[in-house]
Amino acid sequence: LPDDPLSTTFAALADPTRRAILARLSKGEASVNDLAAPFKMSLPAVSKHLKVLERAGLITRGREAQWRPCKLKPEPMKQATDWLEEYRKYWEESFDRLEAYLEELQKEDEK
């Protein structure tokens, strides 16, 4: 996995199963069994996804051997969305420029 936290977050998010797991956890803690239930996937496969999420700091897991509830940790997600927001802002500025230019063109047409 890449070293910097943001890359790790994005890599962890780049998978539909992991995003579905995060969506489930946003409603509250859950066990591996609970999390595996909606997927046609073995428990070890789900555990693998959980490990990726855990390493990215997106979830934490309880330490009790039997019942190791997974819990969402929103901080890295927040950083990732903040970042995308910045990127989007850059795009929006391009919309602004086009809009301003169109306005200029229309004014010229009216003359």
Partner: protein
């Protein structure tokens, strides 16, 4: 203005533009127009060559405030006049693969209450690419990477 991120590798922006559809389309397809709005100041676009047809090449040169030129090129995949433009940086000309395909831009123009609904979608090959480009653009300032970001901004 509203926007959303459907998937982590796709970015969609849409805006109702107070101009006729043909005019918004022209801003994207006419060389004289595109150079006027394309670059964020103090950058400029001293050169644009737009061969607007499927398989045609779209070339831009972006000039930094220091006067350094950064040429970019892509290829149009779909062209429906006044309606839709699709282009990608996966080819530098038809059909020469670019060093690193990054994204496909889908621009649509539609009538809406006397205005134009303008929507730009950028689909990236991999979310890691998107992330890497964003990061380079924003955290290392303008430079070689900024031109790639410019290409992205060009999807708008």
């Amino acid at each position: 203005m509203s926007d959303k991120t459907n998937e982590t590798h796709e970015l969609v922006l849409t805006r109702l533009m107070n101009a006729p559809r043909a005019k918004v389309y022209e801003c994207w397809t006419n060389e004289e127009h595109i150079v006027k709005w394309f670059a964020p100041k103090p950058w400029t676009t001293p050169f644009a060559k737009l061969d607007v047809r499927p398989g045609g090449t779209q070339q831009f040169t972006m000039r930094s405030p220091e006067g350094v030129d950064y040429p970019n090129s892509g290829v149009y995949l779909e062209v429906i006049p006044n309606e839709k433009l699709v282009w990608t940086d996966a080819y530098t000309s038809a059909w020469v693969p670019s060093a690193k395909p990054f994204f496909t831009a889908i621009l649509t123009f539609a009538d809406e209450g006397g205005k134009t609904r303008y929507t730009a979608t950028a689909r990236h090959w991999r979310v890691e690419d998107l992330e890497a480009h964003v990061k380079m653009g924003f955290h290392e300032g303008w430079g070689q990477c900024a031109t790639q970001l410019e290409e992205l901004a060009a999807t708008l």
